[in-house]
Symmetry: C2
Subunit: 112 residues, 2 copies
DNA sequence: GTAATATACCTCGAACGTCTAGGTATGTCA
DNA sequence: TGACATACCTAGACGTTCGAGGTATATTAC
């Protein structure tokens, strides 16, 4: 189980990263993430849909209704150019924090 | 600048990690982090003190008032055994999320 | 034909977390 | 005496997740 704070920090970069791989709809994102993470991340619908709406409102992603061949309607999302830039920012931020943690977790250097 | 969500996710493991290196007081933690992170993380007092109180309430750290030789009183914190275990959990969580992101950010494998 | 299950979307409100802006108090230096 | 650094604290605004609820359609089993 991953803490709420970590979920909050990783959800945005994860969704943007997934969408960088091409068009995908909400319900599929949820199940893709469970698969990709090997069950570590168990996103629920109540978590993901509001995030998708916020990302669209902020202009990072854009949605389009489509009909699948089995008659169900799906809302497909894709990354905008602005969203692609945001993903790069998110990557940089994540990596900079990760580097600080890595430094703290590294075996202490010997000052000799 | 690092997003609020990332701050929220990294504050706990960072503080526990810093305390794993020995006793330290709140005000010092704030300035240590700015130095360690090279200014990437600009923790404010309003962020750190409530976190320290929560960590103590949860039993991960313990505090003790001490007088410095210049007459100022400082509240020193140190890690408990329980807190050391919690730090290991936090490390694992962070790394598992980091691994998923790394996978997503890796160049796509060619399926040929 | 109808019950159960899977797909696929949505929202409300409780709970929890940060952070701005304020506060207190002491020591040092000009 | 004023400015600044040190060193602690908290109230309230704001933002976020997530459980629990809702709608609707397609498929499968009985």
């Amino acid at each position: 189980m991953v803490s709420k704070a970590l979920i909050a920090a990783s959800t945005k970069p994860m969704i943007l990263s997934i969408l960088a791989g091409g068009e995908i709809y909400g319900y599929q994102i949820i199940h893709s993430m469970i698969e990709i993470s090997g069950g570590i991340l168990e996103w629920s619908e109540g978590t993901i849909y509001p995030v998708l709406h916020r990302l669209e409102k902020d202009g990072f992603i854009r949605s389009q209704w489509k009909m699948s061949n089995n008659g169900r309607h799906r809302k497909y999302y894709r990354l905008t150019a602005f969203g692609r830039k945001e993903l790069e920012k998110e990557k940089k931020q994540w990596m900079s924090v990760h580097n600080v943690l890595s430094k703290l977790w590294a075996p202490l250097p010997s000052f000799d």
